[in-house]
């Protein structure tokens, strides 16, 4: 067979992770920013703007985890124990975040508590996801098809930086989403937040980009050796252009534009990650081919993805379309 199924699967998983990061990213970002909105109507608008879609968005995380398990079982079996406390923290954060959508309105006496749970859960999940990313990039100790480090190896200055970077990026997505979906005082506040989040995201993105090549010679070569640099250099260049456009759009009070520019910055970040890590799934230990499931498994799933993914994208798009437009303050009458 001419096609490299394993490489194809690496791209599918990368697509799933990217879809998760941008879709649940803005949900989590709204959670992170939530306490800065005025209690009452502004927070209702923020919550209303994601209530019908958050569950679908979170499903991409299950696809990312399930897909990794299915297509690259060995990577799944090594990365999860290596980042154990982070994964548990993320799951617990997502529990608080997820139930808050329903619980928040069940009892006015509990409202403040569930709003804080929504926000705290979102922040913990975002930080944990960013730190998992950092932990993979900085390398994982492997022996005998198993994780061989201790259960605190993931905690380094680098992972703290990636954690903050992802949280800031999510905040940017959340703020620009709210710019698009809200109006009045909530929107004015969202514009202010989007400005700050843009600067925070760019600063942390820059810091991570400078730090990463210092971690391993492979990363250094990828980014700075000729002739690859000619291709790789396009990524930061495009990022700078999009960021400038984003700031300009925010100043000009664009409605939907800032959100899509923020998505573009995330896409470039993902491409940057791909440049660093390809073709490894655990740097210097495990390539995608080492970790791959056999062809029969990958082929069987490819059929499933091919048949269902167009449908999933279609009805997900439809669900977004149904709830298009500004959320308003009092629901839909």
């Amino acid at each position: 067979m001419g096609i490299d199924l394993t490489a194809l699967w690496a791209f599918i998983i990368a697509f799933g992770i990217f879809a998760y990061v941008v879709m649940d990213g803005f949900d989590l970002g709204i959670g992170i920013l939530f306490p800065s909105f005025a209690a009452g109507e502004e927070r209702d608008q923020a919550m209303n703007s994601i209530a019908p879609v958050w569950d679908g968005n979170e499903t991409w995380l299950v696809l990312g985890g399930g897909g990794l398990f299915a297509a690259f079982p060995l990577a799944y079996a090594i990365i999860l124990p290596a980042t154990y406390p982070l994964i548990i923290a993320m799951l617990l954060g997502l529990i608080f975040r997820g139930v808050a959508f329903e619980f928040r309105s069940r009892d006015p006496r509990h409202r403040t508590f569930w709003e804080m749970a929504f926000s705290g859960g979102s922040l913990v999940a975002a930080l944990a996801q960013g730190m998992v990313l950092g932990a993979i990039l900085q390398g994982i100790e492997v022996e005998n098809r198993a994780y061989a480090g201790s259960w605190w190896d993931w905690l380094t200055p680098y992972t703290l930086l990636t954690g903050l970077g992802v949280a800031a990026g999510y905040a940017l997505l959340g703020a620009t989403w709210l710019v698009w979906k809200t109006e009045g005082g909530a929107q004015a506040h969202a514009y202010r937040l989007a400005f700050r989040a843009t600067f925070a995201t760019l600063a942390l993105l820059l810091a991570v980009s400078l730090y990463t090549p210092l971690l391993a010679a492979q990363y250094w070569r990828r980014w700075f050796a000729m002739p690859g640099v000619l291709f790789a250099a396009q990524v930061p260049l495009l990022t700078a252009i999009l960021a400038g456009l984003l700031l300009w759009g925010l100043r000009r009070r664009w409605q939907a534009g800032p959100f899509f520019l923020a998505l573009g910055i995330f896409l470039l970040g993902t491409v940057g990650l791909g440049i660093s890590i390809w073709p490894f799934v655990v740097p210097n230990e495990l390539t995608i081919w080492d970790a791959a499931a056999p062809m029969r498994s990958q082929l069987f799933m490819l059929v499933g993805v091919g048949l269902t993914m167009p449908l999933i994208l279609a009805y997900t798009g439809w669900a977004y379309w149904v709830f298009r437009g500004k959320v308003g303050t009092e629901g839909y009458h």
Binding site: G40, L63, A77, Y84, P85, I87
Partner: protein, 480 residues
């Protein structure tokens, strides 16, 4: 490096705890989603406001239960990797694709249409909304299909090849992997259990409101529908359970020996031990109340058929008897009690007193949570009864766990216990409060939050009309 035994036991407790808690919610979502589809279908067909009211009443409860199912379910999809890494590495090529299919064909379907189902009636109109409800209900059922296929493969593995690196690899046919020997029985038994559990909850809520007001038409409809389910489906479930048991006897005899408490073989017909205290030290059931030869009659359809006991199984391959024995009795006890309630309701119906017999209503309230208890007991039977294996006969549980230190597993277990009891405890309380409020005419739907005591709002209620009248459903405004 670390204490294997402690970390292993903690990991097992953690999985048992998180999966038991989790499964309560899907059992409820599977049943409620279908019930909601039936209610909405009846509303569309008959135009009776009553069905729309009931739909909205249960939709609010469904929303809370579904949210808890989603968040506790995500934990499960990562537990394989965090706590059972060796199992994940070895079995991933075979069961990973099945789980991926579950995500692709079920989770996205449920989640994608849930928003429209909860909030979209006014935006998309009745027909499309009904389709969204059907998609959510269908998604829950498809999800059950795949996850039970995975579980069945682990119970009765087939269709695999062994790789040189110790991995289980898929053989030429995925059909053999998906449809293993125990799968059809497990699927039928589990899905019926979900429907029956939900019916008993609906029945209990109906009975609760009948006790307060026996003329309440909504309570009457709920109670009547639930009691039909109890009368018709409980006997079917007992029959399906019996078939599942016979299938288990064929493929996992040691599990049945533990269920029966048969430490020793009975060459001339085995008794059914109704009650007793299994004593694994002495290898006998103390204080046992037995029906002679009944076990052989049930399992072999011949009172004198010989039946092997655990003395024929090597000690290192035996499951623990106590929990399996007890959980089995809880499950079948509840099953027969459910059938009894169904028969009682038939008698009441026959006499035209279904809404008048107070003791029937009280019994239905007591039986409300029984289905969920039976479901958990049933899972304990099948999962503990499979021990000491994770993949039956092939991979031992002791050899499947992640290389984790005991403190890591212990700390995360503690965190799960605290968070689950707090969060899902409060969630259950919210559900009980929703159930406590009487269903009424022009029941309010689920709404995205406005600032108010309870997140509900009516959809342009039409002029008051009598329940059961022939008027068409209230007009639903489209956009805007």
């Amino acid at each position: 490096m670390f204490d294997n035994a402690d970390a292993l036991m903690l990991a097992r407790i953690q999985f048992a705890f998180t999966v038991s808690f989790h499964f309560i919610f899907p059992a409820l979502s599977i049943g409620l989603a279908s019930y909601l589809a039936v209610l909405e279908g009846l509303w569309l067909k008959t135009g009776r406001q009553l069905y729309l009211d009931l739909f909205r009443y249960w939709l609010k409860i469904f929303a809370v239960a579904f949210a808890m199912g989603v968040v506790s379910g995500i934990v499960m999809s990562y537990q394989f990797g965090t706590n059972w890494a060796v199992f994940s590495d070895k079995a991933g090529p075979v069961i990973g694709p099945l789980l991926a299919y579950e995500v692709l064909t079920a989770f996205f379907l449920e989640a994608g249409f849930l928003g429209v189902m909860l909030f979209g009636l006014e935006r998309v109109g009745r027909k499309l909304h009904f389709i969204a409800t059907l998609m959510v209900a269908g998604g829950t059922a498809v999800s059950a299909f795949w996850i039970l296929s995975v579980n069945s493969w682990m119970q009765t593995p087939a269709g695999y090849e062994m790789g040189a690196n110790g991995q289980f690899l898929p053989g030429p046919s995925w059909i053999d992997i998906i449809f293993t020997a125990s799968f059809p029985y497990r699927l039928v038994h589990t899905v019926i259990a979900a429907y029956l559990s939900t019916a008993f909850i609906v029945g209990a809520v109906g009975a609760w409101h009948l006790l307060k007001d026996r003329a309440n038409p909504h309570a009457r409809t709920m109670f009547s529908m639930a009691m039909w389910m109890a009368a018709i489906v409980a006997p079917i479930q007992i029959f399906a359970g019996d078939l599942h048991g016979l299938n288990t006897l064929e493929h996992q005899p040691a599990k049945v020996m533990a269920m029966e408490g048969h430490y020793r073989s009975h060459p001339e017909g085995a008794p059914f031990i109704v009650l007793g205290i299994p004593d694994s030290e002495a290898r006998r059931v103390a204080f046992s109340l037995e029906i002679p030869k009944a076990s052989s009659l049930i399992l072999k359809h011949d009172p004198n058929a010989p039946l092997a006991g655990l003395d024929t199984v090597p000690e290192q391959d035996q499951p623990p008897v106590g929990p399996v024995f007890w959980a089995f009795r809880v499950m079948i006890g509840i099953g027969f009690a459910m059938m009894g309630l169904g028969l009682w309701s038939l008698a009441a119906r026959w006499r035209g007193r279904l809404y008048d017999w107070r003791w029937l209503h009280r019994a239905a309230i007591v039986m409300g949570p029984s289905g969920l208890v039976a479901v958990i007991a049933g899972w304990m039977v099948t999962e503990i009864g499979r021990q000491p294996f994770t993949i039956y006969g092939l991979l031992r549980t002791a050899g499947a766990a992640s290389p984790l230190d005991a403190p890591a597993v212990g700390a995360s277990l503690l965190a799960f216990v605290v968070v689950y009891f707090a969060v899902f405890g409060i969630g259950t309380w919210y559900i009980l409060r929703l159930m406590h409020a009487a269903p009424k005419l022009h029941e309010l739907g689920v709404r995205r939050g406005e600032t108010g005591p309870i997140r509900t709002a009516g959809i342009t209620p039409g002029p008051a009309r009598h329940v059961g009248g022939h008027a068409s459903p209230p007009a639903i405004t489209g956009e805007g």
